[in-house]
């Protein structure tokens, strides 16, 4: 739309942007430059302290990272962690969905959701780990339990807020089409509340990823096949500090990729396209 308007504007009131102005407008480029500065700062600072046990250099970390990637150790840990989080995350989102649908269709459901979220949302998921270990033993079921807890409440809160925020006009339009029950929920409420739902999914992802790594730090699963958290803990015990940093870097990279690629992809195809991004 804007491009046709731009061509209508006479030449004397417009000027082409310079190359520098154009490049400066690309936010990814600006961020990459900043990242390079941070990387340089890391390298110089570690060279300055010169104590690889306390603060390994970027170069050491990278070569360590390449080594454990090549040996297949890190990818194995990564897939273990990712497999667990997929199960825990989808479980939490599913539970949140069920609770919110119950909450908007029935009065007791509303009260239940309000009570549960106000009770459990402030409770750090990791605090439940001791109880989970007691119930489910030393293994991944315990971690999945805490992840479900970490995901469920923030997601439920956001979905619920989204549903409540759907305009009365849109609700009446849905009713006008004689939509009711689940059809009304999925064809009107869910898409109308999608910006909130997406926010909930993002927050839930961040919570669950942190919780997973924290829980894995506490124990590695029996046969030594723990995930990324365990990898970090194990390497610290073996004093391979550059690998500890490599592990941390991997945790960060996965977090950023999910946020910046997966969620961005969903966002571009939904709320941005619909003009609903806030």
């Amino acid at each position: 739309m804007s491009s046709s308007a731009e061509t209508d504007i006479p030449e004397d009131v417009k000027r082409k942007l310079s190359l520098y102005e154009k490049l400066y407008n690309i936010s990814a480029l600006r961020k990459i430059v900043l990242l390079l500065f941070l990387a340089l700062a890391w390298q110089f600072y570690s060279a300055y302290i010169d104590n690889p046990l306390m603060f390994p250099s970027l170069a050491d970390t990278m070569s360590g990272l390449a080594e454990v990637v090549r040996s297949g150790e890190l990818p194995l840990r990564m897939t273990t962690s990712l497999r667990v989080i997929v199960v825990g995350y989808s479980g939490g989102v599913l539970l949140a969905g069920l609770l919110t649908v119950l909450a908007i269709t029935t009065r007791p459901g509303t009260d239940l959701l309000e009570i549960l979220t106000s009770m459990f949302n402030p409770l750090p998921a990791i605090a439940l780990l001791p109880v989970a270990l007691l119930w489910f033993g030393l293994g991944y079921p315990s971690i999945i339990f805490v992840i479900v807890h970490a995901v469920c409440w923030p997601v439920a809160l956001n979905i619920y807020a989204g549903f409540m925020g759907v305009s009365n006009t849109l609700r009446m339009v849905g009713k006008n089409y004689e939509l009711a029950g689940l059809a009304f929920v999925f064809r009107i409420l869910v898409p109308a509340a999608f910006p909130h739902i997406l926010t909930g999914l993002k927050v839930g992802w961040a919570f669950s990823w942190r919780t997973l790594i924290a829980a894995e730090l506490v124990f590695g699963v029996s046969s030594g096949s723990g995930g990324l958290g365990w990898f970090i803990y194990e390497k610290k015990n073996q004093l391979d500090i550059n690998l500890v940093f490599a592990g941390l870097l991997t945790v960060i990279i996965i977090g950023v990729l999910v946020e910046g690629v997966v969620f961005k992809f969903i966002e571009e195809r939904t709320v941005v396209k619909w003009g609903m991004k806030f």
């Binding site: 009446m172 339009v173 089409y177 619909w274």
Partner: protein
């Protein structure tokens, strides 16, 4: 506009009898309308005209089935109205009435597919034709957020026509538009009406709009809403002496509305 004259012998199509509507605020139970009665015949363009607080939108919501009457009844074709239904298509004032996650075309297709047993291809074909009819043929793939206010209301009207309802209810659909667009939309609405002669109940607070669009005008006064006068407009003689009649009618309605003026329009 020949053939649009009033059919006196017709059975009432929509009948509102002694309708009392109430709503609750935190501290009061408020009576919005008391003992309102009127009938709408098929192909009528009935205007509910009045200042804010006269309950005109509330009456429309009750006909739409969104409000339960505290007293009286509303019947459509003899059947009591109990809940919202696709036999009464509604156009709202708000621009956000389109589903923002669907294109203009898909908004209409969705309306058709939800309310009538029609295959996707047929629905698309029908929706495309309707979009053309409201002069938005090129905007089928545009999402609502990229449409102007007038375009959105055009899609909303097309969507309503797509339901093939017995009656179309419009709640100040042009109130948020600029004056020029508004005038254009009124003309277009009359053209659309001339094609299928749908029955229309139209709420407005603009006397000009009422006279431009209506075959009948019901004038309401506020607190509580009640009918103070009713006018029948003879559209067969419209072309000949429209100016005179317009001016005269406008003056009369204005006088009625300002008669015991302790409220603001």
């Amino acid at each position: 506009m020949a053939g649009t004259a009033v059919h006196d012998d017709d059975e009432p199509f929509l009948e509102v009898r002694k309708l009392t509507l109430q709503y609750k605020t935190a501290r009061y139970l408020i009576t919005a309308t008391r003992d309102i009665s009127f009938a709408v015949r098929e192909s009528d363009r009935l205007i509910l005209l009045g200042p804010s607080g006269c309950g005109k939108s509330t009456i429309l919501k009750a006909i739409g089935g969104f409000l339960k009457p505290a007293g009286g009844s509303i019947t459509l074709n003899g059947g009591q109205i109990k809940k919202p239904g696709a036999d009464r298509a509604i156009v709202f004032q708000e621009f956000d009435q389109l589903l923002p996650w669907k294109t203009a075309l898909e908004n209409i297709v969705f309306a058709i597919r939800q309310t009538r047993k029609l295959g996707r291809d047929e629905a698309v074909e029908e929706a495309t034709a309707l979009l053309k009819k409201v002069n938005l043929g090129k905007f089928g793939d545009t999402y609502p957020h990229a449409l102007s206010g007038g375009m959105k209301q055009r899609v909303a009207i097309a969507r309503c026509l797509a339901l093939k309802s017995k009656i179309i209810l419009m709640d100040e659909p042009f109130a948020s538009l600029d004056a020029l667009t508004r005038q254009k939309m009124q003309e277009e609405l009359l053209e659309l009406w001339a094609e299928t002669k749908f029955t229309l109940v139209f709420v407005t607070h603009s006397i000009d709009e009422a006279i431009t669009l209506g075959t009948r005008i019901i004038v309401l006064s506020p607190h509580p809403g009640r009918i103070v006068d009713e006018f029948e407009l003879d559209w067969t003689r419209r072309e000949a002496n429209s100016h005179l009649e317009f001016a005269g009618l406008k003056e009369r309605i204005t006088r009625i509305l300002f008669r015991d003026m302790d409220y603001v329009i």
